[in-house]
């Protein structure tokens, strides 16, 4: 039978080898539909327990800044105070540390050096200031009785200590 020959009654024709291929095509389509219907509708992926509850918090923490005010450990003012105190302490250490002067106590100052200092420096210290320095109250000075000093002692002191002639000149 010539399949390409016009149908006697209707004149309709079919493509070459249509009926030979029809079965194969139909079976193929059925097998595809069968395999498609067997395809799983779930991907099979799972998540850790409570993942969706936790991920919301994680994302919020990343995008929404917390309202807690961040307090700096040091503000500018505190920093200035701290550096000032540190500078004072450092200077005090070098200036006042007795070890830097090679003196362990005040007693170690030699009298000669102290006397030299008093002689060379123009201290201009008044009697009252000197009294203050030695913590002598002015009323204590008043209480000193010069009447008790013997005349001999005064004469002896003057003969030993006042050797310069200037005194006499000025008195003249």
């Amino acid at each position: 039978m010539n399949k390409n020959k016009k149908h006697i009654k209707t004149g309709f024709t079919t493509p070459d080898k249509y009926f030979n291929n029809f079965d194969k095509k139909l079976l193929n389509k059925l097998s595809i539909e069968e395999s498609e219907s067997e395809l799983p509708k779930e991907a099979g992926f799972t998540t850790p327990e409570n993942y969706f509850d936790n991920v919301e918090g994680e994302i919020l923490n990343k995008v929404i800044p917390t309202k807690t005010k961040v307090i700096k450990l040091f503000n500018k003012k505190q920093f200035l105070y701290a550096t000032s105190i540190a500078a004072i302490l450092a200077l005090s250490f070098f200036i006042l540390n007795p070890s830097n002067l090679n003196l362990s106590t005040f007693d170690d100052i030699e009298y000669a050096a102290f006397e030299e200092y008093l002689n060379t420096e123009d201290l201009n210290i008044s009697a009252l200031e000197l009294a203050d320095l030695y913590e002598i109250e002015t009323n204590e000075l008043d209480n000193i009785s010069f009447l008790n000093i013997e005349d001999e002692n005064i004469l002896e002191y003057l003969s030993e200590e006042t050797t310069s002639d200037d005194y006499y000149d000025s008195e003249l």
């Binding site: 595809i32 395809l39 799983p40 969706f52 994302i59």
Partner: protein, 179 residues
């Protein structure tokens, strides 16, 4: 809260944070599963999901409202996931499909995969498809997203999407028959 109300709240700095929480509540799972099917590994999907929402939060002012918020977010998630998997492939000096197949070959040892043999085979079949066909197949087959919505998300005509899905389906069928 309607989508329009949500968008208005998101664009208002005083209501942004609360609106964003609502956005997270509504979309986190849908976007996760969409991303997961692209990157496959859970930890990678977690990273991409977080980056997606961070981008949404930071760029909400740039959302022009000429598409649905849902479509805009899906687009960001898709771009983030594809960028991620492409970068992974580039790092490994291999094709994206190869990277996906490598991950899939290790899937049976993955704690977060409980699929059977058929599900694993289907995933491997999807991984053989070009990227765009993978996306279309996943969105249509698993998520039943309408072509109209998919057209907005992927910025592709509905006709092209239908053709992509048809071709993808045929390739998958062929893969399953041959393997």
């Amino acid at each position: 809260m309607t989508e329009q109300e949500l968008v208005t709240s998101l664009k208002n700095p005083s209501s942004l944070n609360n609106a964003f929480k609502e956005l997270l509540r509504q979309y986190k799972e849908r976007l996760y599963w969409h991303i997961r099917k692209i990157v496959i590994d859970h930890d990678d999907a977690d990273d991409v999901l977080q980056n997606t929402f961070i981008k949404v939060y930071k760029n909400i002012d740039k959302f022009k409202e000429d598409s649905k918020l849902y479509s805009w977010m899906y687009r960001i998630a898709t771009n983030e996931a594809i960028t991620f998997i492409n970068q992974r492939a580039k790092k490994n000096n291999s094709a994206t499909e190869e990277v996906q197949l490598t991950i899939l070959n290790n899937l049976t040892a993955d704690d977060h995969f409980d699929g059977d043999e058929a599900q694993l085979k289907l995933q491997k079949a999807i991984a053989t498809l070009p990227q765009k066909q993978q996306l279309v197949f996943n969105m249509k087959y698993f998520d039943a997203i309408k072509y109209r919505e998919m057209s907005e998300i992927l910025e592709t005509s509905e006709g092209a999407l239908k053709a992509s899905y048809h071709i993808a389906t045929k390739k998958i069928e062929q893969y399953i028959l041959n393997n």
